[in-house]
């Protein structure tokens, strides 16, 4: 029996989604809860391996259970086992051919920029502070070069090991949401640090250090060293996973 979970988390206190030796991961926390529930080791497969410090409004994962727990709402039961910064929003039985990562059609990420003169006392856990004035029109113009099928090697962590660096970006939007400037990107898949390096490079465009055409050249160069800095993880949210 396969179960799909919808999960929300605040990544502040975690070493990212994926289980690892150097810190407590979100996957590990939920797997511990599942183990208590089922009395056996359960492996959780997530749609996205969010980095340390990155948040999820809606992450999706699945697991296979060897037995059926009757009259149990898995979301409710798991939430009693989990810390307050990880919540299971829903659980649902799915067909055997569903795979949280492989069945994904697209994912949407949002990056929150707090663009005010003074750092926020309230939102430092959930945004990147940029005190400089930003040219949002130029950032938008540059970012539209990313839409379509491209080799995104320029925007990948240098220690990365994906087989192919070609991905498709379906759409990019810039929105003002309350006190934030929000960069929203929908794509078929994302390389390691990809959204954060894209945002870091677009901020150079916003500050006037890189023109939109130069940004296009950075994309075409397939050279990580041409791109800007990796923007801090705190501003990044996995917003949705579409199947």
């Amino acid at each position: 029996m396969k179960i799909k979970l919808e999960i929300q988390y605040d990544g502040t206190h975690y070493a990212g989604w994926q289980r690892q030796k150097n810190g407590i991961s979100i996957q590990e926390k939920i797997e511990e809860g599942l183990q208590k529930l089922f009395g056996e080791r359960v492996v959780l497969h997530g749609a996205s391996r969010t980095d340390s410090g990155v948040h999820a409004k809606l992450q999706v994962a699945h697991f296979r259970a060897s037995k059926i727990l009757k009259n149990i709402d898995y979301a409710l039961a798991l939430n009693t086992q989990l810390p307050h910064d990880i919540r299971i929003l829903s659980s649902q039985e799915v067909s055997e051919d569903f795979h949280a990562m492989r069945s994904t059609k697209s994912k949407i990420y949002e990056y929150f920029i707090y663009n005010k003169p003074v750092k926020s006392a309230l939102y430092y856990r959930h945004s990147l502070w940029v005190p400089q004035k930003l040219d949002v029109l130029a950032m938008d113009e540059a970012s539209q070069y990313l839409v379509g099928v491209h080799d995104f090697k320029s925007f990948q962590a240098s220690n990365s090991c994906f087989k192919t660096t070609v991905r498709e970006i379906f759409g990019i939007k810039w929105k003002e949401k309350e006190e934030f400037l929000v960069f929203s990107i929908q794509g078929s898949g994302f390389l390691k640090y990809m959204v954060r390096i894209i945002v870091g490079t677009l901020l150079e465009v916003g500050k006037g250090n890189v023109t939109p055409l130069e940004f296009k050249e950075i994309l075409n160069s397939k050279d990580r060293s041409q791109a800007g800095r990796t923007a801090r993880p705190q501003g990044l949210f996995l917003k949705e996973v579409l199947y």
Copy 2:
């Protein structure tokens, strides 16, 4: 010389605005910073005594300095002394007759309600979770009875000691902001716990336990025991102070 400060803070880790023996207050933190700057004890007067756990998007305070520090931006200098959850947004010299609390014309508070079936992993520090379906129209209808000059004794902490419990409410609004239902209230002044008790009572209206007319009767009863529970401080933000 009198200096006015605009201040933002996350109240999560503080015992409220006002200096006290039972915990670390925001006033104390800023006064410590001022003492380092001026080399003498400086008293800070805030516009609003926000409760423990309550946040401020914009609090106003003033202090009197016995000397002038030349070429010093007080906001910048203070921020280097303060923790990241307290930020001075601006500083400005004001005339001798300005008083952060007494000169106030009105204050605006916002209360954030997260009205979804599952508690939020992301926003528990900044909102009240209400899983039940709420009748927002009924809550809005009830809340409009608060507008005008009234004796708000029903909506005051029982251990309170204000001379008069009459205040004027200038306006009330309900808004949907992203994932939140936001209650916004502007008034001449507020009693201890007033906004939180009002919200707690309006939530009873939203859940269908109290009708809008019964809410009006609770206001008129001048009896704290008729009103609902004090809503948790985490959802409350001091939004603005007007002079």
